[in-house]
Symmetry: C2
């Protein structure tokens, strides 16, 4: 047998093979990854390559004539499984024929994912019936899929059944079947529509619904859109919505129907942006906290708000579009990721999925800050989680000049050590109208650093700055003078605001502390902190540590991961393996109910200090505390 050499572009890699084998087999033997769904029968059309320099190979086969378009053939495109090597050859493997691995963009984390979506679109050419072979059309289709793609035990869904005769007739029995979970044919279309497969990952936040339209063929995000959660008109926070939904059946009806409207609005926007027809939207993966989950499903949510805070259901669910009146392919699937507990939802599981802390050797802390802040501690040997009632202070509520991180909000603040001049940065530029969460952290940290507040959070009345003043018998610190602002008064942080921030940060740290105690580790053992949440990307981690929101780990090990819940939902859309991991997490995460922890109040009170009552936990803050106590 004579050796032949194949040069594989664009890498220019040269592989050795022998005459007589197919190009696909030569690839496989040399570890060149090329897609193939039909096992080399020339049926799936996935292993397309360009033959750029042709020596001796066989003529285009009948199978290729069926699968390749005229244009593709004119460009010397061939199916690797149909090319038999006879001499040396140069081929180019186009991106769409490469094995489907994809780096998932999670801010701060690199994840490589083998694409294995629940949705697969497969070409099928079932044979025609005759008087002697009267198998039904659905049996013929299923038989073809079994024989060609080794899909055994497939069934055909009702929506696909209705479309089957029309699709077969319109295309002379050359159709594309959409298969869900290697289990059910959910759609049939005339011709080759294999590349028109889309999914929508949705994060249903208490305040925002964010959706990403993703190509299930190549894993690319093709459009993103978000919307204020329309439930907000019935309450800003989870508890008030639960109360509203529990007051009457009509309340629950309403909260469900408006959030579904919201999801439909996001879906139709992203489809429009990307020019995708809703019938090609085959799956949605939804994540959200447990209250969002129950309201979406019209499950009475009261038990989530009452001890022992037990959900009605926590396992993952697959629903039909008709069951939720969501606009997508009618045979499609809506996958809800599982919950962990009443206050730890699918968004937390999605966050873990995307940061991979459950697969990492590093002992990691994953903190998703919101009105409820979820904290996870652990690694691949196990994870603890809890929910901290941190409240909406960091989102601006209960803070005199607080606001969300939108245009006009001060987002970054520093205070001059000498003259206490305040430098700030405003979202969108221009003059500020208020302060958002990241700036609150900066202000509190800078005031502490420069001895303008003491360890108990009291504003230092004796500090030599006119920015500290008394108003209504209470102290306050002026962040921006009236003339610097876009409103009619100074922007200030009051003593009351600082108390709110102390409670909020104490709630978060106390959660971390109780998990650390349960795991019997100190801050020194923590190798990574992942910071998630809407404002996570804009926090100064030095400042966050200084006021004691998070344990004292070195700054380079603090990673901001943005909306990790949405990233996790996207991963679940692209990989059924991720769904299995999510189910495992739902069962294996150890939920710690903080209210039931005996040391909780002590931890909470100690954590209201800046950075903490127990300074041995915050060695990096020692010097500042020492300085302050000398000068204070």
């Amino acid at each position: 047998m004579s050796d032949v050499f194949v040069t594989v572009e664009p890498e220019g890699r040269k592989i050795r093979s022998i005459a007589g084998v197919t190009l696909l087999d030569a690839f496989a033997a040399s570890g060149v990854s090329v897609r193939s769904e039909c096992g080399g029968r020339g049926a799936c059309g996935k292993c397309k390559v360009f033959v750029t320099e042709k020596k001796r190979i066989n003529e285009v086969t009948d199978q290729e004539k069926q699968v390749l378009t005229r244009e593709e053939a004119a460009l010397n495109m061939r199916l690797a499984c149909q090319v038999y090597l006879e001499g040396d050859l140069t081929v180019m493997i186009p991106v769409e024929s490469r094995v489907r691995q994809r780096r998932i963009q999670v801010a701060g984390v690199d994840v490589t994912l083998e694409l294995s979506p629940a949705i697969r679109k497969l070409r099928a050419q079932p044979s025609p019936p005759s008087l002697l072979d009267t198998q039904t059309y659905s049996e013929r289709l299923l038989r073809f899929l079994e024989e060609t793609y080794d899909l055994r035990g497939l069934t055909i869904g009702y929506e696909a059944l209705k479309k089957l005769p029309g699709a077969l007739n319109a295309s002379h029995r050359d159709v594309t079947a959409t298969v869900w979970n290697s289990r059910e044919v959910i759609d049939v279309e005339a011709g080759d529509t294999t590349q028109r497969a889309y999914g929508l990952a949705v994060d249903i936040g208490t305040s925002k619904i964010v959706g990403q339209l993703v190509s299930l063929d190549d894993g690319q995000v093709v459009a993103t859109s978000s919307l204020e959660n329309p439930q907000i008109i019935h309450g800003e926070d989870v508890i008030s919505r639960i109360t509203f939904a529990s007051a009457s059946e009509a309340g629950l009806d309403q909260l469900q129907s408006i959030v579904l409207d919201g999801i439909n609005a996001v879906a139709s926007r992203v489809c429009e942006q990307a020019g995708v027809h809703a019938t090609h939207l085959y799956e949605m993966t939804l994540v959200g906290n447990s209250a969002m989950h129950h309201l979406l499903l019209h499950i009475p949510p009261l038990s989530l708000a009452l001890a022992p805070y037990v959900p009605t259901v926590k396992s993952s669910l697959n629903l039909r579009p008709k069951e939720l009146a969501l606009q997508m392919n009618e045979g499609g699937n809506i996958h809800l990721l599982p919950l962990v507990a009443g206050f730890v939802g699918a968004d937390n599981i999605a966050g873990i999925l995307s940061t991979r802390v459950h697969k990492s050797e590093e002992l990691s802390l994953l903190i998703d800050i919101g009105t409820n802040t979820e904290v996870n501690l652990g690694n691949r040997e196990g994870l603890l989680c809890c929910s901290c009632a941190s409240g909406p202070a960091f989102e601006g509520a209960h803070i005199r000049d607080g606001m969300k991180a939108v245009q006009g909000a001060i987002e970054r603040v520093s205070i001059d050590a000498n003259d206490h001049a305040v430098h700030f940065k405003v979202i969108g530029g221009g003059k500020p109208v208020g302060i958002c969460g990241s700036a609150m952290i900066d202000i509190l940290a800078e005031m502490f650093r420069h001895n303008l507040v003491d360890r108990t959070g009291r504003i230092n009345e004796k500090a030599s700055t006119e920015r500290i003043r008394k108003a209504n018998a209470s102290l306050e610190f002026v962040v921006a003078w009236r003339e610097e602002t876009d409103k009619d008064e100074d922007i200030v942080i009051t003593q009351g605001d600082i108390r709110e921030l102390q409670l909020a940060k104490a709630a978060i740290y106390a959660g971390c502390a109780i998990l650390m105690k349960r795991r019997a580790v100190s801050h020194e053992a923590i190798e990574k902190i992942y910071f998630a949440g809407a404002f996570g990307n804009y926090i100064d981690s030095e400042n966050a540590k200084l006021i004691g929101i998070i344990p004292d780990v070195s700054t380079e090990n603090v990673v901001f991961v943005g909306n990790s819940a949405l990233s996790g939902a996207r991963m679940a859309l692209l990989s059924t393996e991720m769904r299995r991991e999510a189910t495992d997490l739902s069962q294996q995460l150890t939920y710690v109910e903080l209210g039931a922890a005996s040391n909780f109040s002590d931890e909470l009170i100690s954590a209201t200090y800046l950075p903490h009552k127990d300074l041995t936990r915050f060695p990096s803050a020692h010097q500042i505390v020492d300085n302050n106590s000398r000068t204070g």
Copy 2:
């Protein structure tokens, strides 16, 4: 161990047992059949008995206090599993505690069926959660059902999930769970609703929709109703409906939506008659011919009407109420029995189920007469079937004075041997307006018997009766003189009518003959003929044989089974075993395509003779034929 004796009423049977065992165990050891779903844990409440003469037994247990009502306790009702024998005892087993076997009323056939519906309603008392036991409510319910009823791998459906919190709250966690196919919880209600379980068996005929509401708890039919199939406005027969549905998408939409409306109307009528709420209607079993099946499902039906007459799907289907907009419990199930072929539908399978020919040793012929007449031949060693295009003559179409078997139709006719006076019976009494199918058979047979038509079907012009006359250059026979009728003219059978009837009966017999030939049997081997169909009960079988509709078997072996399709649908409702049998039948029935049989035209032409060209097949008609040929 001392012997104790239990007298079991109402039979008065005396069984021997030993002290210390439970009454339920004593029953089991002696072969007394009593219901029990929970394996004797006192949870299901199915093994209720009245203790009519109490000697020494234990006090009422805590489990009994939970399951028995105050009234039941006052009547000395006990759970057999909770009574420990200490001395002799007399008990009465009420009907509802007897093991659920039921004789199914199929006209002409006695079927005993063990009740095993797909729907089971089970009481459940899941334990409350606590901070230390935070399993979700659905997990608690499923765990209870697994532990109490040994139902493993159960899931909970979306509709049940939505109802779960409300049901648990309203009843202090004492609920009734409805389980489908030992697989999925589809409903949850507060309190004990175990007896409120209903199903609807529906036969979707081309001309009539008939529904029977059945208690799934005891197998009784509680209401029956029927309705003209509203599709009739788009064509009387299957082919014209297929044509209408194939002309436009709107046509298919319309035919589907009106038949669904029809089923909903029947369902709401029977529920109203029986005082049953639609939420307690958990299952429907639907049968119909293949065209009715496809139209109901909105599956384009054209392939059924074009060679090779292949359905899009023939396996049984389970659909959700939302998928078909049928009004019943939202978590319920719609079960469509499987088809056999393009012209042999689920109604034929249901007919076989109810006559049990597939389980019988007797070689049987099952004939369901309609516009298409299905014929089945075989026994437990195998069945052949075919569909005969017998046309609508027997329903009155194409017959001058023909009509359906409704009020005012002549249904029974005899002709005096001497004076040829005609005696007839009219449906509903009174004067007639036309002739229905059973009377057409009588007339043709009587005319043949008295030599008023010859073997070729020609009216005997020379017969000495004024009833035979010429009109419009053609012969006719007067059945009723104008003054005897409720119309302005005589009721007659024309030579043309007789030709139509000959073609119709020939089509049916030719089907029988081809199956007999395929099976290599003559009429002598046929041990039973089952005659089904709307008018089946009113046919005179001697006359049917004489004109050669059916093979020549002795009259006592011809059995009329009425709407056997509906009976079969009811059996499938009451027994999942019947569904398995239906699936087997769908795969194992050998469909014979008459159009492909080489001897079909010969058989058809020979069968147009009275009774048949080949008289050796009809020995009972010999004498009449001999007489006629002597006198003719």
